[in-house]
Assembly symmetry: C2
Homo-oligomer: 303 residues x 2
């Protein structure tokens, strides 16, 4: 049995091939979808879930040439119960069919055999390429996910410094032995990453989530985890700009992908692209917003 | 509109009515279910999910008189994808039909509108009574869940000190201003609880998870969060005993429920009850194990 190609190698190959580090977040909300998907589909969770799947497929057609990776947010699918989870499964499959990598944003975390069940559920062979995970329960609880990185070429992104204001409450607590809690978590990320195979550029399969809303912290954490792929949320709607993301990239301009959700997928709803293309031109506004983000990041990331 | 009865009041009424503080954990694993449910049902996720639902319903019939609350572990249902989530929904409904409260163990946590989506998904009017949540992202990310406590009579259990060995890695980190990280989280639990209505005995809707495997910490944390309902995992299979749980109870013998999963639901697979009742007598072994746990806790909890 040959080892599967590691997550970082696959991600970076995709970034190079598309000359893009954009991650398109898929946060479907029924009320916000283009009307062509919602009309006649408001009769319960199964109908709404069908709208999600149809929308996602068409959206993926638009963004596939412009982004290496998409990030479905599990919560918005879970709202629709089992029907929503079926729509999530269909969306992950549709992304893979279009050559997109998939980061499932589910922020799972639990102990022992329960963590193993989450890893099995969300990093299945035919499922997502990577999963966001929460470190609060401890390093041993990340191990079952790291095992999937080693054995199945999957990746994880551990929450280190999230983009919200309240992220300071616990993540930025000063630790008696020095540094902040997030530095502790970053050390664990680096150590766990070292147990996964290195890609040619040195990157490992254990990554970290660090918000674009904290550029100084992003620079510190990039140094602390030089071989961790970063997932940078907080771009656009949350206030982060391309310049804020610059410290997240390694020499060569890779090592991070930057996520935007509403700012891309619902670009038809407000702002410059909305005015230009109108509601019916939603595909064009997604296309224009994704290109603009791609180009803005390419300008700052170097490489 | 009258306010719904708060979670703590409903939980304590149920504990009194059944004279029990046992929480029965539902962690279905196909290979471990009694054969009568698995035979002929190994052909894919839908068949396995059907086995989960059937098993859970019969199990709930056995434990309903003996326990106030059950705790389905979402991960084991999520392993079966959408079919598993449908089985989870059916299990929650079956528990409620039998007068059981439901703590959904899903350890969710995310920011802003995503947290709100998780709260909507897992604390729906007809869904679980309470949800386990992860605090790492910060206090603001717990707020949408607390809002469901206030508005819909639901409860949450925030992870404070989990039962696993690695829980020390981050939860027990010493904080510069004094105390440990878990004490910080406990303060947030108490403060958030104070924003929810008090039950007659003073308890609030914001609870905490503290492992039976750490009895000293349990005593400290009980004092730090005098009105937080505690969910105590780690009993039985993980090594905690009734004596270890004693510090978790408030005067009056309430304020905490103690969870056991495998030790109750799979009591037919090994140990004294297995020998006595055999595989075919799985209902009797669940009944005996649950009664034994109930009685052991009643002996130590006072009240």
């Amino acid at each position: 049995m040959t080892s599967p190609t590691g997550y970082a190698a696959r991600l970076h190959a995709a970034c190079r091939a598309k000359n893009s580090v954009v991650c398109v977040g898929l946060d479907p909300r029924f009320e916000m979808l283009p009307r062509e998907f919602t009309e006649g589909r408001d009769a319960g969770p199964a109908a709404r879930a069908a709208a999600f799947s149809l929308w996602a497929r068409e959206l993926l057609d638009v963004v596939a040439p412009l982004a290496p990776v998409v990030k479905p947010q599990s919560a918005f699918f879970e709202v629709l119960g089992a029907a929503g989870v079926a729509a999530l499964e269909a969306t992950v499959a549709a992304a893979r069919e279009r050559g997109l990598l998939v980061i499932l944003d589910a922020k799972r975390g639990d102990i022992g055999s329960t963590a193993a069940a989450y890893a099995q559920a969300h990093l299945a062979a035919e499922g997502a390429d990577a999963l966001t995970v929460n470190p609060y329960l401890g390093r041993d609880t990340l191990e079952p996910f790291v095992a999937r990185c080693r054995d199945a070429g999957k990746g994880i992104y551990v929450l280190v410094k999230t983009s919200n204001e309240g992220s300071a409450d616990f993540q930025d607590v000063g630790v008696v032995d020095g540094g902040l809690l997030r530095d502790r978590v970053a050390s664990a990320v680096a150590a766990l990453g070292a147990t996964t195979p290195a890609a040619q550029d040195g990157f490992r399969a254990v990554g970290a989530v660090v918000g674009a809303t904290y550029p100084r912290e992003l620079a510190d954490l990039r140094r602390a985890m030089p071989h961790a792929p970063l997932l940078i949320p907080g771009y656009g709607a949350q206030g982060g700009g391309a310049q804020d993301c610059r410290p997240g990239f390694a020499a060569g301009g890779l090592g991070a992908v930057v996520n935007s959700s509403r700012g891309l997928t619902f670009a038809f709803a407000k702002g410059e692209h909305a005015e230009r293309f109108g509601h019916a031109g939603w595909r064009d506004s997604v296309d224009a917003a994704t290109r603009a983000m791609r180009d803005a990041l390419n300008e700052v990331r170097g490489g």
